[in-house]
Symmetry: C2
Subunit: 597 residues, 2 copies
């Protein structure tokens, strides 16, 4: 059956492909809605037929049974939502607008300027990063407020600069679906179109769940009428270093390996599938990048208010099927997964366990649907947190919050300094420096070959040694050029990862700051009978819980940080020692070839 | 007594000095001609009195007894000069004009284009470098034909760039005289004024000795009527490698050391005096730079046609009294003296022996006068050469000459390549590279100090180690910056010295090429009765002698070259090994400060 459809965005067909170029506003006829992989076959008014991404169109009158972009599920829970109309004066009017605190400003400025000022301009930045932020690399200065990129792009790693590849490759990967999944019309089923600038799907879910106001404010939790309904419970203990998460006895771990290129739609679309093997089941599961992305969205939705969930490695790096790129992405997915596995709260969550150890396709699909309907998201995650510790007073909560803010900002600066310096060093080590060693090597060899032409007796002992010395410098050039991959790479990767992680803190800390501000307003609200005196006590108690969560998270961060930097520094220095020793040995050998005098 | 004098060149007094500013053409009154140090006291028409360089003036009517610039000694030998009027058609018309072959052209082109072409445009380049060439750094392309600089100037050694100093310091050094010497009015008494662009004095000597035509052509030797009058005799033997100079059993050597700053004219003028101790007498003699320069001029005059006499280290480097400059000049004077000592012909010459081992002031003065009157200069040096070997035919002479030309040109290119590459490497090692290591070190330390502020327990083990690692990179920065002085320096100095030496070869080889051309013309000259058949035989025989001299010199060059490059390459590699080993050891220590995991 054929439907009329409106084209929502311009789409330009790949040359030599079966695609159809369409323009925004154009009316087309869908001739086959069952192509799959996010594509439909359509015919334009000139009678040309070809494939068009289904999300680029809107059906004019009715839905096809298998392909549609509207109609969110009506299943929206609202039992837990308190009446928060008295906060309306502070609430953003547009549900999808960037948060005010970070709209064009450095989000750190919330903390670093005057912490005692009115809260009106400090309306809580949302910890959930409703915008997936793939295009926002610098959260401290960007106007769009979102979780930052863990990967700064080709500028950081010059060795990736040369790898060119069509942007469309990337987009293709995001677009096609697993054949067995018929539910690609479900909202939130990953696969947001990157090309054409459409937004990610996670926003829809959040808005659908709490229609009519932003769910971003911590007041949702501070004043909610009930505790968590389910069995979910996140415990915090007082450890040696202060509040800590409950850590499972066995540390979850997984291996991301064996990237395989798959293709579908008769080879038209291709993708990379990774094998993930957790140490719990030791049974590999397969996931494509889009599934990681789906997991990321779920974790961000669920834990983002309490736990910084670092972005996935950037999708936009070019050359997707180039060997080195795949290796790099796998390495970064491994790093991301390792970090998630190491987190006691994240790793024990149902959605994370599902991702790592689903039994079969049906299990996966069922689990996915369940995860997407999870209501304990956003600030509501705090309803599941139980701290076995006395309540903190507001001053202490505030002081901790500010301390963490200062530290993470300072570390962010420190990490960026290392990245900047490291990037320059990388460029020098792979660019001008080896070129120079090569030229030194060539110069020695050239002079040696001039000497050979002298016709003078007994020249060979010198010229052989000089040629060897020249070749040694050419080898050194090679060693120098390859060294960054052996040491600087890990230093950069680790710091890049931390840059991404630190970029999440302004949001996470912002939720707390907003909560503190709300608690500060409690007296006024009680006086104007907006809330009861008991509500005020509840708010303070819940802010204390939030603070314990933040402290536990900071202690988790510190512990990991010490481990990570110990490891990466040792690794770096070890490789540096090897580097200098290798060169010294080579030069010693070159030296030995000269006659003693 | 007071004399009227004409000012020959503009002279601008140093501010705050007792000098007098005078203009070219101005008439002044010499109020005291006995000031010494190359200065006279004079009064201008406005009644102002001050010191003026005596070479800047010309006495209007009569000479002062102690100061004068005209009146060359009449003592000019001409018994040995043949009638060469038939060569007039080839002779340059201006006695001081640059040789045609190199006037604006690459002198190598004489050889590298078409060796069989007419000799008319190949008129012999003069081997004696009548112009001292202090301002002509590039003999291969410069219009002024002269011996090149052994030192390219501050561009080569970036670490000298920063040493600023008044140019006048340099000039002062050249100007002032030893107090005890009254003979500074003699022509050829060194001390050419560098400031104001006046020419050096050596030209005068040459022209005075053979007035009326250039002595530059080899025909002077090819057709001279007599053998050497004196006891001078330079022997060439056939050694294993071919024709070689006669080498003395004990190798002459000397140490240039102990630079002392002296001053005269009540502190107005100051200079540096070096102590030179030859291994023959083991008795130190003192010489200032200007005496070295005098020696250079004598050696160039006497041997330049047969032996490349490298220029002295450049005078124009700034910062004369700056410690590093003095050290550098001394090192280069040592290098120059060592090279001269090593040369069997130069080292056994009377003038060189005088310089190294004059007994007292009187001995030095007498020896100087004698040396300045030496007539066995220019191509006439060949009259003293005796080769114990059969005469060579012209084809062989020509072939050898061309071979040497090709080799020296190729080596000149090779040496310049090393200098260019080395200079860039020097800049990188002393500039951006240590800055980068410093920034890496700072970045580690900064991050470490952020960590210290975390308030987290057990931070110190990591932060202490990270700070130490950061400091290690700062130390590495220092090591990197200082390394070029330890290794690259000697590589550069040696190649610089060879660049200077190689720059003399076009002149030396040019004399031979010109001689070959003359011999080729012999038939025509016999046919037109310009010369006798016997003259032709003599010419060929003498060209053979010249060729033996060139071959002996090339073999001397090769032997030295192999020795020098063996030594410098070993030294360079040895220091490079130490460099890399030192850094490796430092990093190993830094690594050990991290906790094992």
């Amino acid at each position: 059956m054929a439907f009329k459809a409106q084209v929502l965005y311009d789409f330009t067909a790949e040359p030599g492909n079966v695609e159809l170029t369409v323009k925004e506003g154009e009316t087309i006829t869908v001739t086959n809605a069952n192509i799959g992989g996010g594509w439909i076959e359509a015919q334009n008014s000139r009678g040309e037929t070809g494939l068009v991404p289904e999300d680029y169109i809107e059906y004019s009158n009715q839905f096809s049974g298998t392909a549609g972009t509207a109609a969110p599920p009506a299943n929206v829970g609202n039992a837990a939502v308190p009446d928060l109309s008295f906060f309306d004066e502070f609430a953003p009017t547009s549900t999808s607008a960037p948060k005010q605190a970070s709209n064009g400003n450095d989000p750190w400025s919330v903390w670093n300027s005057d912490p005692s000022r009115s809260s009106n301009n400090n309306w809580a930045p949302n910890a959930e990063g409703n915008q997936t932020g793939r295009n926002a690399a610098e959260p401290w200065s960007s106007g769009t407020h979102s979780h930052p990129q863990a990967y700064q792009g080709p500028d950081i790693y010059p060795y990736l600069i040369d790898h060119t590849g069509a942007e469309d490759d990337e987009w293709d990967d995001e677009w096609d679906e697993m054949k067995s999944t018929s539910g690609y019309s479900e909202p939130g089923e990953g696969g947001a179109i990157q090309r054409g600038g459409t937004h990610a799907s996670s926003m829809k879910i959040s808005l659908n769940k709490f229609p009519g106001f932003s769910k971003s404010g911590p007041e949702l939790f501070l004043l909610c009428k009930q505790a968590a309904k389910g069995k979910e419970k996140i415990s915090i203990y007082l450890g040696e270093v202060g509040p800590v998460w409950f850590y499972p006895e066995a540390q979850l771990d997984c291996i991301v390996a064996d990237p395989k290129k798959g293709s579908k739609m008769y080879g038209l679309k291709s993708y990379i599938e990774y094998q993930i093997t957790p140490n719990t089941t030791n049974r590999p599961v397969n996931h494509r990048y889009k599934h990681f992305d789906w997991l990321y969205e779920r974790l961000l939705d669920k834990f983002g208010s309490a736990i910084p969930i670092p972005s996935l490695p950037d999708k936009q790096v070019t050359g997707r099927f180039e060997e080195e790129f795949i290796k790099m992405r796998m390495e970064r997915l491994q790093g991301w997964m390792t970090r998630m596995c190491r987190h006691p709260v994240v790793s024990s969550s149902e959605v994370f366990q599902l991702f790592l150890s689903y039994k079969d396709e049906k299990d996966w699909k069922t689990g996915k649907r369940k995860a997407e309907k999870d209501e304990t998201v956003g600030v509501m995650i705090f309803t599941t947190i139980e701290a076995e510790a006395p309540d903190l007073d507001l001053a202490e909560v505030e002081q901790k919050c500010e301390q963490f803010s200062r530290f993470t900002k300072a570390m962010d600066d420190g990490v960026k300094e290392i990245l900047t310096v490291g990037n320059e060093h990388w460029k020098r080590c792979t660019g001008p420096l080896p070129k120079e060693y090569q030229r030194i090597g060539k110069a020695f060899q050239n002079l040696s070959s001039v000497f050979t032409s002298s016709g003078y007796q007994g020249e060979a002992t010198l010229t052989d040694a000089m040629t060897a010395a020249g070749k040694t410098y050419e080898e050194i050039a090679q060693i120098v050029a390859e060294q960054p991959k052996k040491d600087l790479h890990f230093l950069m990767e680790t710091n890049n990862e931390y840059k991404g992680l630190l970029g999440c803190f302004p949001d996470t800390i912002g939720v707390h700051k907003a909560a503190i501000d709300k608690v500060k307003e409690a007296d006024k609200l009680v006086n104007t009978n907006k809330i009861t005196a008991q509500d005020k006590v509840t708010m303070a108690k819940r802010a204390s819980t939030m603070s314990y969560a933040l402290q536990a998270e900071m202690n988790h961060f510190h512990s990991n940080r010490i481990y990570d930097y110990n490891r990466v520094m040792q690794q770096y220095l070890e490789e540096q020692v090897k580097f200098y020793e290798t060169i010294a040995a080579k030069l010693r050998h070159a030296h030995s070839q000269f006659t003693t005098m």
